[in-house]
Protein backbone atom coordinates (compact mmCIF):
# COMPACT_ATOMS: atom_id res chain seq x y z
CA UNK A 1 0.00 0.00 0.00
CA UNK A 2 2.83 2.38 0.97
CA UNK A 3 4.61 1.49 -2.25
CA UNK A 4 1.47 2.22 -4.24
CA UNK A 5 1.14 5.64 -2.59
CA UNK A 6 4.80 6.37 -3.24
CA UNK A 7 4.48 5.35 -6.91
CA UNK A 8 1.40 7.46 -7.55
CA UNK A 9 2.23 10.31 -5.13
CA UNK A 10 2.20 12.98 -7.83
CA UNK A 11 -1.16 11.85 -9.23
CA UNK A 12 -2.70 11.64 -5.75
CA UNK A 13 -1.36 15.14 -5.05
CA UNK A 14 -2.90 16.42 -8.31
CA UNK A 15 -6.23 14.82 -7.49
CA UNK A 16 -6.18 16.51 -4.08
CA UNK A 17 -5.32 19.85 -5.72
CA UNK A 18 -8.15 19.38 -8.21
CA UNK A 19 -10.68 18.61 -5.45
CA UNK A 20 -9.46 21.64 -3.47
CA UNK A 21 -9.79 23.95 -6.50
CA UNK A 22 -13.26 22.58 -7.20
CA UNK A 23 -14.35 23.19 -3.59
CA UNK A 24 -13.05 26.79 -3.72
CA UNK A 25 -14.69 27.47 -7.11
CA UNK A 26 -17.98 25.90 -6.02
CA UNK A 27 -18.01 28.25 -3.04
CA UNK A 28 -17.20 31.21 -5.31
CA UNK A 29 -19.69 30.45 -8.07
CA UNK A 30 -22.86 28.40 -7.90
CA UNK A 31 -22.62 27.93 -11.66
CA UNK A 32 -19.29 26.06 -11.42
CA UNK A 33 -20.54 22.62 -10.38
CA UNK A 34 -23.33 22.36 -12.96
CA UNK A 35 -23.36 19.73 -15.71
CA UNK A 36 -23.40 22.50 -18.32
CA UNK A 37 -20.19 24.01 -16.96
CA UNK A 38 -18.49 20.63 -16.55
CA UNK A 39 -19.35 19.92 -20.19
CA UNK A 40 -17.90 23.33 -21.09
CA UNK A 41 -14.64 22.48 -19.32
CA UNK A 42 -14.42 19.10 -21.09
CA UNK A 43 -15.17 20.61 -24.50
CA UNK A 44 -12.77 23.52 -24.07
CA UNK A 45 -9.95 21.21 -23.04
CA UNK A 46 -10.50 18.17 -25.26
CA UNK A 47 -8.02 19.29 -27.93
CA UNK A 48 -5.52 20.31 -25.25
CA UNK A 49 -5.85 16.80 -23.83
CA UNK A 50 -5.14 15.25 -27.24
CA UNK A 51 -1.97 17.30 -27.74
CA UNK A 52 -0.82 16.80 -24.13
CA UNK A 53 -1.12 13.00 -24.47
CA UNK A 54 1.04 13.14 -27.63
CA UNK A 55 3.55 15.38 -25.82
CA UNK A 56 3.63 12.94 -22.86
CA UNK A 57 5.03 10.24 -25.17
CA UNK A 58 7.65 12.61 -26.57
CA UNK A 59 8.75 13.82 -23.11
CA UNK A 60 8.88 10.21 -21.88
CA UNK A 61 11.31 9.54 -24.74
CA UNK A 62 13.67 12.14 -23.29
CA UNK A 63 13.05 15.19 -25.50
CA UNK A 64 10.47 17.94 -26.04
CA UNK A 65 8.88 19.33 -29.14
CA UNK A 66 8.49 23.10 -29.26
CA UNK A 67 7.04 22.98 -32.75
CA UNK A 68 3.77 21.24 -31.76
CA UNK A 69 1.79 24.52 -31.81
CA UNK A 70 3.18 25.44 -35.23
CA UNK A 71 2.27 21.95 -36.53
CA UNK A 72 -1.32 22.63 -35.37
CA UNK A 73 -1.36 25.88 -37.36
CA UNK A 74 0.27 24.35 -40.46
CA UNK A 75 -2.10 21.36 -40.49
CA UNK A 76 -5.10 23.70 -40.15
CA UNK A 77 -3.88 25.71 -43.14
CA UNK A 78 -3.23 22.56 -45.22
CA UNK A 79 -6.76 21.28 -44.51
CA UNK A 80 -8.29 24.70 -45.25
CA UNK A 81 -6.45 25.06 -48.55
CA UNK A 82 -7.34 21.53 -49.63
CA UNK A 83 -11.02 22.00 -48.68
CA UNK A 84 -11.11 25.20 -50.72
CA UNK A 85 -9.38 23.37 -53.55
CA UNK A 86 -12.36 20.99 -53.69
CA UNK A 87 -11.10 18.06 -51.61
CA UNK A 88 -13.78 16.08 -49.78
CA UNK A 89 -13.81 16.40 -45.97
CA UNK A 90 -12.37 12.88 -45.33
CA UNK A 91 -9.61 13.52 -47.92
CA UNK A 92 -8.73 16.93 -46.44
CA UNK A 93 -8.68 15.52 -42.89
CA UNK A 94 -6.55 12.56 -44.00
CA UNK A 95 -4.17 14.95 -45.76
CA UNK A 96 -3.96 17.13 -42.64
CA UNK A 97 -3.22 14.15 -40.37
CA UNK A 98 -0.62 12.74 -42.78
CA UNK A 99 1.00 16.20 -42.98
CA UNK A 100 1.13 16.40 -39.16
CA UNK A 101 2.70 12.94 -39.01
CA UNK A 102 5.21 13.95 -41.71
CA UNK A 103 6.16 17.12 -39.79
CA UNK A 104 6.61 14.97 -36.67
CA UNK A 105 8.78 12.57 -38.69
CA UNK A 106 10.90 15.53 -39.82
CA UNK A 107 11.49 16.49 -36.18
CA UNK A 108 12.33 12.90 -35.25
CA UNK A 109 14.75 12.50 -38.16
CA UNK A 110 16.49 15.79 -37.40
CA UNK A 111 16.79 15.03 -33.67
CA UNK A 112 18.08 11.50 -34.21
CA UNK A 113 20.42 11.95 -37.14
CA UNK A 114 21.90 15.40 -36.50
CA UNK A 115 22.33 15.03 -32.75
CA UNK A 116 21.62 18.76 -32.39
CA UNK A 117 19.82 19.81 -29.20
CA UNK A 118 16.07 19.21 -29.56
CA UNK A 119 15.21 22.67 -28.14
CA UNK A 120 17.04 24.44 -30.96
CA UNK A 121 15.86 22.02 -33.64
CA UNK A 122 12.18 22.07 -32.79
CA UNK A 123 12.28 25.82 -32.23
CA UNK A 124 13.76 26.24 -35.71
CA UNK A 125 11.14 23.92 -37.22
CA UNK A 126 8.45 25.86 -35.36
CA UNK A 127 9.66 29.14 -36.89
CA UNK A 128 9.78 27.61 -40.36
CA UNK A 129 6.26 26.12 -40.13
CA UNK A 130 4.76 29.35 -38.77
CA UNK A 131 6.49 31.21 -41.59
CA UNK A 132 5.05 28.85 -44.22
CA UNK A 133 1.56 29.20 -42.66
CA UNK A 134 1.86 33.00 -42.88
CA UNK A 135 3.16 32.88 -46.45
CA UNK A 136 0.40 30.53 -47.64
CA UNK A 137 -2.40 32.48 -45.96
CA UNK A 138 -0.85 35.91 -46.51
CA UNK A 139 -1.40 36.42 -42.79
CA UNK A 140 -5.19 36.19 -43.14
CA UNK A 141 -7.52 33.48 -41.86
CA UNK A 142 -9.02 31.04 -44.38
CA UNK A 143 -12.69 30.63 -43.56
CA UNK A 144 -15.96 28.86 -44.47
CA UNK A 145 -15.69 25.09 -44.93
CA UNK A 146 -19.24 23.78 -44.85
CA UNK A 147 -21.34 21.98 -42.26
CA UNK A 148 -19.79 18.55 -42.80
CA UNK A 149 -16.38 19.83 -41.66
CA UNK A 150 -17.76 22.03 -38.86
CA UNK A 151 -19.44 18.92 -37.41
CA UNK A 152 -15.94 17.61 -36.53
CA UNK A 153 -15.51 20.59 -34.18
CA UNK A 154 -18.92 21.09 -32.64
CA UNK A 155 -20.93 18.01 -33.60
CA UNK A 156 -22.23 15.82 -30.81
CA UNK A 157 -22.71 12.08 -30.46
CA UNK A 158 -24.81 10.94 -27.51
CA UNK A 159 -24.74 14.40 -25.97
CA UNK A 160 -20.94 14.61 -25.97
CA UNK A 161 -18.94 16.70 -28.40
CA UNK A 162 -16.97 14.62 -30.92
CA UNK A 163 -13.71 16.19 -29.71
CA UNK A 164 -14.41 15.01 -26.13
CA UNK A 165 -15.11 11.48 -27.39
CA UNK A 166 -11.87 11.58 -29.41
CA UNK A 167 -9.89 12.75 -26.36
CA UNK A 168 -11.40 10.00 -24.18
CA UNK A 169 -10.65 7.37 -26.86
CA UNK A 170 -7.07 8.58 -27.20
CA UNK A 171 -6.53 8.44 -23.44
CA UNK A 172 -7.91 4.88 -23.31
CA UNK A 173 -5.73 3.78 -26.22
CA UNK A 174 -2.66 5.50 -24.76
CA UNK A 175 -2.72 3.54 -21.50
CA UNK A 176 -2.01 0.13 -23.06
CA UNK A 177 0.17 1.72 -25.72
CA UNK A 178 2.46 3.28 -23.12
CA UNK A 179 2.49 0.63 -20.39
CA UNK A 180 1.49 -2.69 -21.92
CA UNK A 181 2.96 -2.71 -25.41
CA UNK A 182 6.48 -3.02 -26.77
CA UNK A 183 6.45 0.39 -28.43
CA UNK A 184 5.60 2.28 -25.22
CA UNK A 185 8.19 0.20 -23.38
CA UNK A 186 10.82 1.28 -25.91
CA UNK A 187 9.67 4.92 -25.78
CA UNK A 188 10.29 5.10 -22.01
CA UNK A 189 13.52 3.11 -22.39
CA UNK A 190 14.67 5.67 -24.98
CA UNK A 191 14.21 8.37 -22.36
CA UNK A 192 15.57 6.20 -19.55
CA UNK A 193 18.81 5.14 -21.24
CA UNK A 194 19.15 5.40 -25.00
CA UNK A 195 22.37 3.36 -24.97
CA UNK A 196 20.73 0.52 -23.07
CA UNK A 197 17.96 0.38 -25.67
CA UNK A 198 20.42 0.46 -28.56
CA UNK A 199 22.58 -2.24 -26.97
CA UNK A 200 19.44 -4.39 -26.63
CA UNK A 201 19.33 -4.50 -30.41
CA UNK A 202 16.49 -2.02 -30.87
CA UNK A 203 16.66 0.51 -33.72
CA UNK A 204 16.62 3.69 -31.64
CA UNK A 205 16.06 5.92 -34.68
CA UNK A 206 12.79 4.16 -35.54
CA UNK A 207 11.46 4.67 -32.01
CA UNK A 208 12.55 8.33 -31.99
CA UNK A 209 10.90 9.03 -35.34
CA UNK A 210 7.72 7.09 -34.55
CA UNK A 211 7.14 8.89 -31.25
CA UNK A 212 7.38 12.25 -33.07
CA UNK A 213 5.05 10.95 -35.79
CA UNK A 214 2.57 10.14 -33.01
CA UNK A 215 2.82 13.68 -31.60
CA UNK A 216 2.52 15.14 -35.12
CA UNK A 217 -0.66 13.13 -35.68
CA UNK A 218 -2.15 14.28 -32.36
CA UNK A 219 -1.26 17.89 -33.29
CA UNK A 220 -3.07 17.36 -36.62
CA UNK A 221 -6.18 16.02 -34.84
CA UNK A 222 -6.01 19.11 -32.60
CA UNK A 223 -5.87 21.21 -35.77
CA UNK A 224 -8.97 19.46 -37.17
CA UNK A 225 -10.93 20.27 -33.99
CA UNK A 226 -9.80 23.90 -33.75
CA UNK A 227 -10.23 24.66 -37.46
CA UNK A 228 -13.67 23.04 -37.57
CA UNK A 229 -14.78 24.69 -34.34
CA UNK A 230 -13.75 28.17 -35.49
CA UNK A 231 -14.74 27.47 -39.11
CA UNK A 232 -11.46 29.19 -39.85
CA UNK A 233 -7.80 28.25 -40.29
CA UNK A 234 -5.51 30.88 -38.84
CA UNK A 235 -1.75 31.12 -39.25
CA UNK A 236 -1.47 32.03 -35.57
CA UNK A 237 -3.56 29.08 -34.38
CA UNK A 238 -1.94 26.83 -31.78
CA UNK A 239 0.21 29.66 -30.43
CA UNK A 240 1.80 28.56 -27.10
CA UNK A 241 -0.17 25.33 -27.22
CA UNK A 242 3.06 23.36 -26.81
CA UNK A 243 3.62 25.22 -23.52
CA UNK A 244 0.23 23.99 -22.22
CA UNK A 245 1.00 20.45 -23.38
CA UNK A 246 4.47 20.38 -21.80
CA UNK A 247 3.08 21.87 -18.57
CA UNK A 248 0.36 19.23 -18.38
CA UNK A 249 2.74 16.33 -19.06
CA UNK A 250 5.39 17.43 -16.56
CA UNK A 251 2.81 18.45 -13.96
CA UNK A 252 1.24 15.03 -14.37
CA UNK A 253 4.42 13.27 -13.33
CA UNK A 254 6.14 12.48 -16.63
CA UNK A 255 9.85 12.91 -15.92
CA UNK A 256 11.26 15.92 -17.74
CA UNK A 257 14.44 13.92 -18.35
CA UNK A 258 12.40 11.05 -19.83
CA UNK A 259 12.14 7.41 -18.83
CA UNK A 260 8.93 7.73 -16.80
CA UNK A 261 5.46 8.63 -17.97
CA UNK A 262 2.01 9.10 -16.53
CA UNK A 263 -0.98 9.29 -18.85
CA UNK A 264 -3.37 9.55 -15.86
CA UNK A 265 -1.27 12.40 -14.48
CA UNK A 266 -1.41 14.23 -17.82
CA UNK A 267 -5.20 13.86 -17.89
CA UNK A 268 -5.48 15.23 -14.35
CA UNK A 269 -3.12 18.11 -15.12
CA UNK A 270 -5.05 19.12 -18.27
CA UNK A 271 -8.25 19.08 -16.23
CA UNK A 272 -6.68 21.17 -13.43
CA UNK A 273 -5.42 23.74 -15.95
CA UNK A 274 -8.87 23.72 -17.56
CA UNK A 275 -10.65 24.13 -14.25
CA UNK A 276 -8.35 27.03 -13.32
CA UNK A 277 -9.06 28.75 -16.67
CA UNK A 278 -12.77 28.17 -16.23
CA UNK A 279 -12.69 29.40 -12.65
CA UNK A 280 -10.84 32.58 -13.61
CA UNK A 281 -13.41 33.23 -16.34
CA UNK A 282 -16.29 32.65 -13.90
CA UNK A 283 -14.66 35.07 -11.46
CA UNK A 284 -14.19 37.58 -14.30
CA UNK A 285 -10.39 37.53 -14.00
CA UNK A 286 -8.54 38.74 -17.12
CA UNK A 287 -7.34 36.03 -19.53
CA UNK A 288 -3.84 37.55 -19.28
CA UNK A 289 -3.52 35.86 -15.90
CA UNK A 290 -4.18 32.47 -17.46
CA UNK A 291 -0.92 32.63 -19.42
CA UNK A 292 0.95 33.70 -16.30
CA UNK A 293 -0.55 30.83 -14.29
CA UNK A 294 0.37 28.26 -16.97
CA UNK A 295 3.96 29.50 -16.99
CA UNK A 296 4.10 29.50 -13.20
CA UNK A 297 2.68 25.98 -12.96
CA UNK A 298 5.26 24.77 -15.53
CA UNK A 299 8.04 26.27 -13.41
CA UNK A 300 6.73 24.63 -10.23
CA UNK A 301 6.26 21.27 -12.01
CA UNK A 302 9.78 21.34 -13.42
CA UNK A 303 11.18 22.15 -9.98
CA UNK A 304 9.24 19.27 -8.41
CA UNK A 305 10.32 16.94 -11.23
CA UNK A 306 13.97 17.98 -10.76
CA UNK A 307 13.77 17.40 -6.99
CA UNK A 308 12.25 13.96 -7.57
CA UNK A 309 14.96 13.11 -10.09
CA UNK A 310 17.72 14.17 -7.70
CA UNK A 311 16.11 12.35 -4.80
CA UNK A 312 15.91 9.07 -6.71
CA UNK A 313 19.31 9.52 -8.30
CA UNK A 314 17.92 9.37 -11.82
CA UNK A 315 20.52 11.92 -12.91
CA UNK A 316 22.98 9.05 -12.96
CA UNK A 317 21.69 7.99 -16.33
Amino acid sequence: MRKWFSKYSQQIFLLAVMILICIILTAESKYFLTWKNIKNILEANSYRMILAVGMTFVIASGVMDLSAGAVVSMCGVIMAVSLHAGFSVPAAVALGICSGAAMGALNGILIHYTGINFFILTLAVSGMLRGISLMVTDGKPITRFGQEFIFLGIGRIGGLQLSVILAILLVFVSFPLMFHMKWGNYVTALGGNKDALEKSGIHVGRIRISVHVFLGATAAVTAVIITARLNSAEPNAGMNMELDAITAAVMGGTAITGGRASIGGTVLAVLILGVIRNGLTLMSVSSDYQQWITGFLLLVSVLISEIRVRKTGALMK
Partner: protein
Protein backbone atom coordinates in the same frame (compact mmCIF):
# COMPACT_ATOMS: atom_id res chain seq x y z
CA UNK B 1 42.98 -27.19 -30.89
CA UNK B 2 39.36 -26.18 -31.59
CA UNK B 3 38.50 -23.70 -34.27
CA UNK B 4 37.96 -20.26 -32.77
CA UNK B 5 34.34 -19.13 -32.52
CA UNK B 6 35.43 -15.51 -32.66
CA UNK B 7 38.40 -14.26 -34.63
CA UNK B 8 39.20 -10.59 -35.03
CA UNK B 9 41.87 -9.81 -37.61
CA UNK B 10 43.83 -6.56 -37.77
CA UNK B 11 41.04 -4.58 -36.13
CA UNK B 12 41.78 -0.86 -36.06
CA UNK B 13 40.02 2.04 -34.42
CA UNK B 14 40.90 5.71 -34.04
CA UNK B 15 39.14 8.40 -32.02
CA UNK B 16 40.34 11.62 -33.61
CA UNK B 17 44.10 11.81 -32.96
CA UNK B 18 44.03 8.89 -30.55
CA UNK B 19 44.69 5.43 -31.89
CA UNK B 20 42.66 3.11 -29.67
CA UNK B 21 43.43 -0.06 -31.63
CA UNK B 22 46.32 -0.30 -34.06
CA UNK B 23 45.53 -3.65 -35.73
CA UNK B 24 44.61 -6.22 -33.12
CA UNK B 25 44.31 -9.96 -33.75
CA UNK B 26 42.17 -11.76 -31.22
CA UNK B 27 40.72 -15.26 -30.93
CA UNK B 28 38.26 -16.86 -28.52
CA UNK B 29 37.47 -20.57 -28.36
CA UNK B 30 34.33 -22.50 -27.37
CA UNK B 31 34.18 -23.80 -23.80
CA UNK B 32 36.99 -21.45 -22.78
CA UNK B 33 37.29 -18.24 -20.82
CA UNK B 34 39.55 -15.84 -22.71
CA UNK B 35 40.67 -12.90 -20.62
CA UNK B 36 41.78 -9.60 -22.05
CA UNK B 37 44.06 -7.69 -19.74
CA UNK B 38 46.05 -4.50 -19.99
CA UNK B 39 46.42 -1.12 -18.40
CA UNK B 40 43.88 1.69 -18.70
CA UNK B 41 43.69 2.94 -22.27
CA UNK B 42 45.13 -0.27 -23.71
CA UNK B 43 42.06 -0.75 -25.93
CA UNK B 44 40.30 -3.60 -24.10
CA UNK B 45 36.87 -1.99 -23.94
CA UNK B 46 37.15 -0.63 -27.49
CA UNK B 47 37.89 -4.14 -28.78
CA UNK B 48 34.89 -5.72 -27.10
CA UNK B 49 32.62 -2.81 -28.03
CA UNK B 50 33.51 -3.49 -31.65
CA UNK B 51 32.68 -7.18 -31.18
CA UNK B 52 29.40 -6.33 -29.41
CA UNK B 53 28.33 -3.95 -32.18
CA UNK B 54 28.67 -0.78 -30.13
CA UNK B 55 31.49 0.68 -32.23
CA UNK B 56 32.37 0.53 -35.91
CA UNK B 57 36.00 -0.36 -36.56
CA UNK B 58 38.11 1.62 -39.06
CA UNK B 59 39.60 -1.55 -40.50
CA UNK B 60 40.00 -5.29 -40.08
CA UNK B 61 37.67 -8.26 -40.10
CA UNK B 62 35.47 -9.97 -37.55
CA UNK B 63 34.94 -13.71 -38.05
CA UNK B 64 32.11 -15.26 -36.04
CA UNK B 65 31.92 -18.99 -36.69
CA UNK B 66 31.84 -19.13 -40.50
CA UNK B 67 30.64 -15.58 -41.12
CA UNK B 68 32.82 -12.57 -41.83
CA UNK B 69 31.87 -8.99 -40.92
CA UNK B 70 33.62 -5.70 -41.54
CA UNK B 71 31.57 -4.30 -38.65
CA UNK B 72 28.59 -5.33 -36.58
CA UNK B 73 25.52 -3.55 -35.32
CA UNK B 74 24.23 -4.37 -31.82
CA UNK B 75 21.34 -6.25 -33.45
CA UNK B 76 23.67 -8.30 -35.68
CA UNK B 77 25.85 -9.11 -32.68
CA UNK B 78 22.80 -10.35 -30.74
CA UNK B 79 21.71 -12.40 -33.76
CA UNK B 80 25.16 -13.99 -33.82
CA UNK B 81 24.64 -15.08 -30.22
CA UNK B 82 26.80 -12.41 -28.59
CA UNK B 83 25.62 -11.11 -25.22
CA UNK B 84 27.51 -8.44 -23.35
CA UNK B 85 27.79 -7.08 -19.85
CA UNK B 86 29.10 -3.58 -20.46
CA UNK B 87 31.29 -1.71 -18.04
CA UNK B 88 28.62 1.01 -17.82
CA UNK B 89 26.08 -1.85 -17.39
CA UNK B 90 23.67 -0.37 -20.00
CA UNK B 91 20.70 -0.50 -17.63
CA UNK B 92 17.62 1.69 -17.82
CA UNK B 93 17.56 3.25 -14.35
CA UNK B 94 13.84 3.99 -14.52
CA UNK B 95 12.83 0.36 -15.15
CA UNK B 96 12.73 -2.48 -12.65
CA UNK B 97 14.66 -5.77 -12.82
CA UNK B 98 12.24 -7.44 -15.23
CA UNK B 99 12.07 -4.32 -17.41
CA UNK B 100 15.82 -4.45 -17.86
CA UNK B 101 16.28 -8.20 -18.21
CA UNK B 102 13.57 -8.43 -20.85
CA UNK B 103 14.30 -5.19 -22.72
CA UNK B 104 14.37 -6.17 -26.38
CA UNK B 105 13.20 -9.73 -25.68
CA UNK B 106 9.85 -9.13 -23.97
CA UNK B 107 7.42 -11.94 -23.19
CA UNK B 108 4.06 -11.17 -24.79
CA UNK B 109 0.52 -12.35 -24.16
CA UNK B 110 -1.91 -12.52 -27.05
CA UNK B 111 1.08 -11.41 -29.18
CA UNK B 112 0.52 -7.70 -28.51
CA UNK B 113 0.52 -7.11 -24.75
CA UNK B 114 3.52 -7.31 -22.44
CA UNK B 115 3.16 -10.12 -19.92
CA UNK B 116 4.50 -8.21 -16.90
CA UNK B 117 3.46 -10.94 -14.44
CA UNK B 118 5.30 -13.71 -16.26
CA UNK B 119 8.37 -11.55 -16.80
CA UNK B 120 8.53 -10.80 -13.05
CA UNK B 121 8.14 -14.50 -12.23
CA UNK B 122 10.92 -15.45 -14.64
CA UNK B 123 13.10 -12.69 -13.19
CA UNK B 124 12.57 -14.04 -9.66
CA UNK B 125 13.48 -17.55 -10.82
CA UNK B 126 16.56 -16.34 -12.67
CA UNK B 127 17.86 -14.28 -9.75
CA UNK B 128 17.23 -17.18 -7.37
CA UNK B 129 19.07 -19.58 -9.69
CA UNK B 130 22.05 -17.22 -9.85
CA UNK B 131 21.94 -16.60 -6.05
CA UNK B 132 21.48 -12.87 -6.64
CA UNK B 133 19.81 -11.17 -3.72
CA UNK B 134 17.59 -8.22 -4.64
CA UNK B 135 14.92 -7.86 -1.94
CA UNK B 136 12.44 -5.87 -4.04
CA UNK B 137 12.62 -6.64 -7.75
CA UNK B 138 9.84 -4.19 -8.57
CA UNK B 139 11.84 -1.12 -7.51
CA UNK B 140 13.54 0.88 -10.25
CA UNK B 141 17.17 0.05 -10.87
CA UNK B 142 18.23 3.56 -9.80
CA UNK B 143 17.37 2.60 -6.21
CA UNK B 144 19.70 -0.42 -6.22
CA UNK B 145 23.29 -0.62 -5.00
CA UNK B 146 26.21 -0.79 -7.44
CA UNK B 147 26.69 -4.49 -6.74
CA UNK B 148 23.02 -5.29 -7.27
CA UNK B 149 23.02 -3.38 -10.54
CA UNK B 150 26.09 -5.24 -11.73
CA UNK B 151 24.58 -8.58 -10.72
CA UNK B 152 21.42 -7.64 -12.62
CA UNK B 153 23.44 -6.89 -15.76
CA UNK B 154 25.10 -10.31 -15.45
CA UNK B 155 21.69 -11.95 -14.95
CA UNK B 156 20.41 -10.22 -18.09
CA UNK B 157 23.33 -11.60 -20.09
CA UNK B 158 22.74 -15.10 -18.71
CA UNK B 159 19.03 -14.89 -19.56
CA UNK B 160 19.84 -13.74 -23.10
CA UNK B 161 21.70 -17.04 -23.35
CA UNK B 162 24.06 -16.33 -26.24
CA UNK B 163 26.90 -18.72 -27.08
CA UNK B 164 29.46 -15.92 -26.91
CA UNK B 165 29.39 -13.95 -23.67
CA UNK B 166 31.42 -10.81 -23.08
CA UNK B 167 31.95 -9.51 -19.56
CA UNK B 168 33.62 -6.10 -19.20
CA UNK B 169 34.71 -5.67 -15.58
CA UNK B 170 31.65 -7.59 -14.35
CA UNK B 171 32.55 -7.64 -10.65
CA UNK B 172 34.16 -4.24 -10.06
CA UNK B 173 31.36 -3.04 -7.74
CA UNK B 174 30.66 -6.40 -6.08
CA UNK B 175 31.59 -7.68 -2.66
CA UNK B 176 33.73 -10.82 -2.16
CA UNK B 177 30.75 -13.15 -1.80
CA UNK B 178 29.02 -11.91 -4.95
CA UNK B 179 32.30 -11.97 -6.88
CA UNK B 180 32.96 -15.60 -6.01
CA UNK B 181 29.42 -16.48 -7.14
CA UNK B 182 30.02 -14.80 -10.47
CA UNK B 183 33.30 -16.69 -10.82
CA UNK B 184 31.41 -19.95 -10.18
CA UNK B 185 28.93 -18.85 -12.81
CA UNK B 186 31.76 -18.42 -15.35
CA UNK B 187 32.96 -21.95 -14.70
CA UNK B 188 29.41 -23.21 -15.06
CA UNK B 189 28.93 -21.39 -18.36
CA UNK B 190 32.27 -22.72 -19.55
CA UNK B 191 31.09 -26.27 -18.83
CA UNK B 192 28.05 -25.56 -20.99
CA UNK B 193 30.43 -24.89 -23.88
CA UNK B 194 29.97 -21.12 -23.99
CA UNK B 195 32.70 -18.86 -25.28
CA UNK B 196 33.46 -16.34 -22.56
CA UNK B 197 35.47 -13.18 -23.03
CA UNK B 198 36.41 -11.51 -19.76
CA UNK B 199 37.94 -8.11 -19.19
CA UNK B 200 39.23 -7.56 -15.69
CA UNK B 201 41.83 -5.53 -13.84
CA UNK B 202 41.95 -8.19 -11.15
CA UNK B 203 44.75 -10.50 -12.33
CA UNK B 204 44.17 -13.06 -9.57
CA UNK B 205 40.54 -13.32 -10.61
CA UNK B 206 41.65 -13.73 -14.23
CA UNK B 207 44.00 -16.58 -13.33
CA UNK B 208 41.22 -18.25 -11.32
CA UNK B 209 38.82 -18.59 -14.25
CA UNK B 210 40.57 -17.89 -17.56
CA UNK B 211 42.03 -20.53 -19.87
CA UNK B 212 43.79 -18.08 -22.13
CA UNK B 213 45.02 -14.54 -21.60
CA UNK B 214 45.54 -11.83 -24.18
CA UNK B 215 47.59 -8.81 -23.16
CA UNK B 216 46.79 -5.52 -24.84
CA UNK B 217 49.04 -2.53 -24.64
CA UNK B 218 48.54 0.84 -26.24
CA UNK B 219 46.12 -0.55 -28.84
CA UNK B 220 48.21 -3.61 -29.77
CA UNK B 221 48.13 -7.26 -28.76
CA UNK B 222 51.54 -7.76 -27.14
CA UNK B 223 51.15 -11.31 -25.88
CA UNK B 224 48.74 -14.22 -25.78
CA UNK B 225 49.29 -17.38 -23.74
CA UNK B 226 47.56 -20.16 -21.84
CA UNK B 227 46.94 -19.41 -18.16
CA UNK B 228 49.10 -22.34 -17.07
CA UNK B 229 52.15 -20.83 -18.79
CA UNK B 230 52.25 -17.75 -16.57
CA UNK B 231 51.32 -16.38 -13.16
CA UNK B 232 49.62 -13.21 -11.85
CA UNK B 233 53.02 -11.88 -10.71
CA UNK B 234 54.66 -12.45 -14.10
CA UNK B 235 51.72 -10.89 -15.90
CA UNK B 236 51.75 -7.90 -13.57
CA UNK B 237 55.48 -7.42 -14.21
CA UNK B 238 54.90 -7.63 -17.96
CA UNK B 239 52.17 -4.93 -17.88
CA UNK B 240 54.31 -2.64 -15.68
CA UNK B 241 57.35 -3.22 -17.94
CA UNK B 242 55.35 -2.26 -21.04
CA UNK B 243 54.09 0.84 -19.27
CA UNK B 244 57.65 1.84 -18.32
CA UNK B 245 58.90 1.21 -21.86
CA UNK B 246 56.24 3.58 -23.13
CA UNK B 247 57.13 6.22 -20.52
CA UNK B 248 60.82 5.96 -21.52
CA UNK B 249 59.93 6.35 -25.20
CA UNK B 250 57.81 9.38 -24.37
CA UNK B 251 60.73 10.90 -22.42
CA UNK B 252 63.14 10.29 -25.30
Amino acid sequence: MDTPVVEMKQVKKRFGYIQALGGVDFKAYPGEVTAIVGDNGSGKSTLIKILAGGLKPDGGEIHIRDRVFASLTAKQAIEQGITTVYQDLALDNCKDCAGNIFLGREIMKCKILLDHRLMRERTKELLKRLHISIPDITQPVEKMSGGQRQALAVARAVYAGGDIMIFDEPTSAMGLKETSRIMELFLDLKKQGKTIILISHNLFQVFDVADRICVLHNGFLVDSFLTGDSSPQKLHEMIVEKEEEMTDEEMV
